[in-house]
Symmetry: C2
Subunit: 339 residues, 2 copies
């Protein structure tokens, strides 16, 4: 009966002994090296199986200099958008054979992003994905360690990292054009926070579409993504003459707008049409069901990992890439032709 030398998990040397080969041969089998005799390979494999051996990835990372771990820096991962993006990233990374280490920031500023990346770099991540939807965060991309592969999600084009994002301006255009096509003279806008690039992009698409159609551009109302801010904007709009169409920068705020309108007796879509953005799972069941613009967060996550992994696995001086995922318009019951 073989003495059990230790209660510690078996290491490569144990496998080697059991299979009657050297530890290096075990390593070769594990790493699919070509020149191992089939018979030897199976002997090693059965030894691995019998001992329940699992290779120590830490030791491997120490010598290969690759941890096969990716860092993700995100912000407010409770919001639907960031949560979905991070989910997509995690899934794609795992499919590509990478672990994911996550840091969620409360406030996203230059120092915060830098600290988070430092923290992750200390853990020897092979690369980082920074979900940087705010202008301040995008600026922080400029002082990433230059030798660390990185990709920004929704990060704008500052700094020299690759960027994957949804075409927010196109989304704003789709929403606004839809409302104009319904016969509305112009479209009001409830925007997201000023420093968010997504908010800017959506507002820009809205403004450009109105301009191109030769319509007046009303002063946008500023929100902060929260239902409450939408509610407050909605109260203002309900008390403003001539408002027949509103493009709200996200679905949560649109919910607030609908609520304010309901309280004031403004009927949607009969009197005012409302379009949101994000297509959260709830929006199909708002009262009325919300016309909105959907984003494919899964695609964003997949793309970003694709770009990052390519950057890691090729020479690291890869050219920065730029990937734009198109939004998709979702028509529901909160919009109607002007009568």
């Amino acid at each position: 009966m073989a003495s059990t030398p230790a209660r510690h998990p078996p290491v490569m040397a144990d496998v080697a002994r059991a299979a009657g080969v050297s530890h290096q041969t075990v390593s070769r089998v594990l790493n699919d090296h070509p020149n191992v005799r089939p018979e030897t390979r199976t002997r090693v494999l059965t030894a691995i199986d019998q001992l329940g051996y699992r290779r120590n990835l830490l030791a491997r990372a120490l010598v290969t200099k690759h941890s096969r771990t990716l860092g993700v820096v995100s912000f407010d991962t409770v919001l639907y958008g960031p949560a979905s993006t991070v989910y997509g990233i995690e899934r794609a990374a795992r499919e590509a054979g990478y672990f994911v280490s996550i840091v969620s920031l409360r406030t996203i500023d230059r120092a915060g992003v830098r600290d988070a990346v430092d923290y992750l770099a200390g853990q020897s991540v092979d690369g980082v994905v920074v979900v940087a939807p705010q202008r301040s965060a995008a600026r922080a991309l400029a002082d990433l360690p230059p030798d660390l592969p990185a990709v920004a999600v929704e990060g704008g084009h500052s700094g020299d990292v690759s960027v994957v994002s949804v075409d927010q301006a196109e989304g704003g255009r789709l929403a606004t054009q839809h409302l104009l096509d319904l016969g509305h003279a112009t479209v009001w806008h409830v925007s997201g926070p000023a420093d968010w690039m997504e908010a800017e992009g959506r507002a820009e698409g809205w403004r450009a579409t109105l301009r191109a159609a030769g319509r007046p551009v009303p002063e946008p109302l500023a929100g902060d993504w929260s239902p409450r801010s939408g509610y407050e904007a909605g109260r203002v709009l309900a008390g403003t003459d001539g408002v027949t169409a509103v493009f709200v920068s996200n679905d949560q705020m649109a919910l607030g707008v609908l609520r304010a309108f309901a309280e004031r007796g403004v009927r949607v879509p009969e009197q005012v049409s409302v379009v949101g953005f994000d297509d959260i799972p709830e929006s199909a069941f708002f009262s009325p069901p919300l016309t909105t613009v959907g984003q494919d967060f899964g695609a964003v996550g997949r793309r970003s990992i694709e770009v990052l992994v390519r950057q890691i696995e090729s020479s690291r001086a890869g050219p920065r890439e730029r990937f734009v995922v198109p939004p998709r318009f979702v028509a529901r019951a909160s919009t109607a032709p002007l009568r």
Copy 2:
């Protein structure tokens, strides 16, 4: 001018050379060992600073057997509840000095959980948090590696791991009692999926409260957490006589119920009172604003990390603990006294 020996990041030996000490002394400074002369310490510290040295956590983990990384296995991290929980876990872990490696499962079954834990164990995590709200996932806790510190969130009491959870039954009781106090003869229920323990707990609290008050217990309607399933349940309830109060197992389904009622001309709360569960950010702006039961996910995250870290840092044969976080009732406008 000191020659730069390599473009590689500096290691402990480089610092030692610069400070004129041995690598071991550098290690001692880094680990706050007591017996280092203050002058030597500052010399080492300045050398570290000058070289921009950062200690290699991989090498450290290899020898100490502690990676200071925690694994998190979760399910459907796009939902508000799991997303918030994971967020709380991540934050608490980082504050405790641990990294967090996340695996998000699509389907959560015994094999899935085991694979995920194996995967994480291969990365040498010091412990795992399993967010296991489904009965099948809770069962999977039984075959976790016995020597791996673990804590289950919302995981029931099967297996012998510590559990942190919100008192779902108490939440169900609060909701139901509130409706009874308003004078309703009984309370209908739209439940979550059958195999979710949270759904079970809430239903149990509801049922027990009705029984204790000697009220009839209507057959619950089964949902799947989605707004759509709530909508369908709502249509059934709208067509059922004698329904004056409904306790819905989460806010998303409650939204669907409200929508169905609105379509059928059932006025809330005048004709029917509705209570949800979760207190998602949107629910204050539903039409009408939703009375609901909130869960402190942040507390759940903090507690679970607390328990896990204690288990890791003490002898690993810690007794399994059980932590219950109380829910909190949130009164809004979707409930009213029966007239």
